[in-house]
Assembly symmetry: C2
Homo-oligomer: 206 residues x 2
């Protein structure tokens, strides 16, 4: 791994490569190529080779990539060769879907606790978790040293919730509220807003 920073757009493609490799493993494949990966992902094979070369030598010309090895390397680079505890804040429909989602653990994440500020929800169950009082967020995050949060609260509560998360020690927020968050530069935020994707696609429709 070289020490100069890799463009963030390249880093953002590594999880896609890792996901495709996992799918190939599930199909029983052992070897792949940048061509095959590219076809699955709609990315050129040249782009894939260039992206991977930023992090090291993972395959030999002509013999392709060993899927298990490349997968392990990518997990190490993305730091998902471990399991990260995650807090989920906001248990509406979407929060409930996230709490029920079974696809986190084998990709490096485990929801540790879920929180809401609605007295009618606190103490109830969702996805095998007991919904906890959002007032207790801070001390739980601090006690467990959790760094990653998913935010699924209404837009007008998102910034306030983010401020508290950051204050408690959270360093990465996946924000489902359709609003931009203002956080210190030491904190990463990623956004999931379906309308951004829909609007991106309608641009291309006739």
């Amino acid at each position: 791994m070289r020490s100069s920073p890799v463009p963030d757009i390249v880093v953002g493609r590594l999880p896609l490569y890792l996901r495709a490799l996992a799918q190939m493993q599930a199909e029983g494949k052992e070897i792949t190529s940048s061509q095959e990966l590219g076809e699955r992902l709609g990315i050129s094979s040249a782009q894939i080779r260039k992206d991977l070369s930023q992090f090291g030598e993972f395959g030999k010309q002509g013999t392709g990539y060993n899927i298990g090895y490349l997968s392990d390397q990518l997990k190490g680079i993305l730091k998902v060769d471990r399991v990260w505890d995650v807090v989920l804040v906001g248990v509406g429909d979407l929060g409930r879907a996230l709490a029920n989602y079974g696809g986190f653990l084998d990709r490096g994440f485990r929801i540790r606790s879920i929180f809401d500020n609605d007295p009618k929800k606190i103490g109830k169950q969702a996805g095998g978790f007991t919904i906890q009082n959002a007032a207790d967020l801070d001390k739980q995050i601090q006690a467990a040293g959790i760094q990653v949060a998913m935010l699924a609260v209404p837009s007008d509560e998102a910034q306030g919730a983010a401020d508290r998360l950051v204050e408690a020690g959270i360093r990465a927020i996946l924000n489902y509220a359709p609003t931009s968050l203002s956080v210190p530069t030491s904190v990463r935020v990623e956004y999931i807003d379906p309308v951004l994707h829909l609007q991106h696609m309608t641009y291309h429709l006739p």
Copy 2:
């Protein structure tokens, strides 16, 4: 608007700008600047000016952008100065959350029908819709000329569902299943997979 293609990454930022402008309008603001937009979005003002200049002249040096005007222009460019009918396929937890989500209509989209293939769900309600039999997908899409779909089915059903959607005339698919879809080049696919974002963020964590 110029005729040579604008890089897709630039197009992908326009919905972000539009969302920030809508937020400013909701706050009662009338004028903004590339600096102010940039601060809200964590994007440099130079990048914003460069992006917008690909589509025309929307502001004057020194006087900033009229928010209403720029917003209308971006809606036109993204083709969300109209309302697109959307079908939702798959009414699990996530599909239910999407059916209940109130934030589509004022941003250019309206869920028209929701479908599932589970006999226990067909005929039940979700988010004000009656869940319809997925077997009727094709004829409803064709009859209404719908071009946009949201896919929230399990991974192992996603490709099959996508094939049917494309066959019926869908040209844009927002895929929530954590798997890459193979579609003709005339069809756009965007992906929402929270783990891709989480893994992108853990790369940057210590």
